[in-house]
Amino acid sequence: MIWDLFWTFFKLGFVSFGGGYAMIPLIEHEVLQHNWMTATEFTDAVTLAGMAPGSVAMNSAVYVGYAASGWIGSTAASIGIVLPSIILMFLVATLFYRMYHNHWVQAALDGMKPAVMALIAYAAFNMAVHSGLLNGYARYTWFSIVIFAVMLFALIRWKLHPIAVILISGIAGIILYV
């Protein structure tokens, strides 16, 4: 069981291009196949994993591991999911810093940077769509747009610390919605 958890998440770690929510369907498939959780339990797990700090994929691994076999399961699953990153990043880093001054590598990087920038902008857009931020004219939509705009302004203009951004908006949420 422990080995199974480790091995499953180890394999998933290697194919998790894009990270985050892109991995959820893959994890769900494995979880259901191994009977570690039911589909409803898994949906709850993902919601919780998204709310907690850290990457969604990693948090899901911790939760699934815990549901399957307690904290030892959590440890096995999280080591499983982080190990591929360590191996791959070590290979990438060694190669990258060896070829860093090659002009073709620099040229490829020059093209990759704007593409990743687009990817980040798209991630923000996607998150807005999926959290129902752009649906209709509910109270929630208006409050959210205000929080978004004020926080973005504070980040750009006053260089507000990201931790302060999260704290302030959490308090705003409690004031607005409780």
Partner: protein, 200 residues
């Protein structure tokens, strides 16, 4: 590799990396790209370990390789600063606190999920996370979108992402090819000009 901070020995540097990332870790709500402003602030602004431009390169590579973006960035920064030991220190530091928090949450799941205060706070934090991700993109634009070619690559990537179901990795690969093509044509152009000049 260990050039940047001669003030520290490698072990001291690993410890400093560990401290920095363990501090960053619990604030990575939303995961992935939302962590970028926090890392930028700690690693480039406060510590001055890595230049903004190199940070953008690290971001690009972290996005192009499998695994969580935050873990990949921590790994690359760690490796850049102190080799393999730095990589291990950074990855451990960025994962440990979130794993612990999630473990506690899994245990408390039933109580936690139905607290109205926490649900309200999470509703408030959600748009702030979107703002953090948007800010990560905005922060890059000053240094990255400097040439017309970069603007075109950015626009093309946006169009691909919005109107096709292409895997993001393919979009990054397209960017890579575009960068190489631009470089090739610039080089060819320069060669032609020299040839013409010499012909006169």
């Amino acid at each position: 590799m260990q050039s940047s901070s001669s003030l520290f020995t490698t072990s001291q540097l690993c410890f400093q990396l560990f401290l920095s990332f363990i501090k960053i870790s619990p604030t990575t709500f939303g995961g992935g790209y939302a962590i970028l402003p926090v890392i930028h602030r700690e690693i480039t602004d406060r510590r001055g370990w890595i230049t903004p431009n190199e940070m953008h390169e690290i971001t690009a590579i972290a996005g192009a390789t499998p695994g969580g973006v935050a873990i990949n960035i921590a790994a690359l920064v760690g490796y850049r600063m102190a080799g393999i030991r730095g990589l291990l220190a950074s990855v451990t530091a960025i994962s440990l606190p979130t794993v612990m928090i999630m473990l506690v949450l899994s245990i408390l799941a039933a109580i936690y999920q139905h607290s109205p205060f926490l649900e309200a706070a999470m509703l408030g934090i959600q748009p702030a996370i979107i703002a953090l991700i948007a800010y990560a993109a905005i922060r890059m634009h000053k240094d990255v979108l400097r040439s017309r070619a970069a603007w075109i690559t950015f626009g093309g990537s946006c169009i691909l992402l919005l109107w096709t179901a292409l895997n993001p990795v393919i979009v990054i690969a397209c960017g890579m090819v575009a960068g190489c093509l631009v470089h090739y044509f610039q080089w060819k152009h320069a060669v032609n000009r020299t040839v013409r000049k010499n012909g006169k």
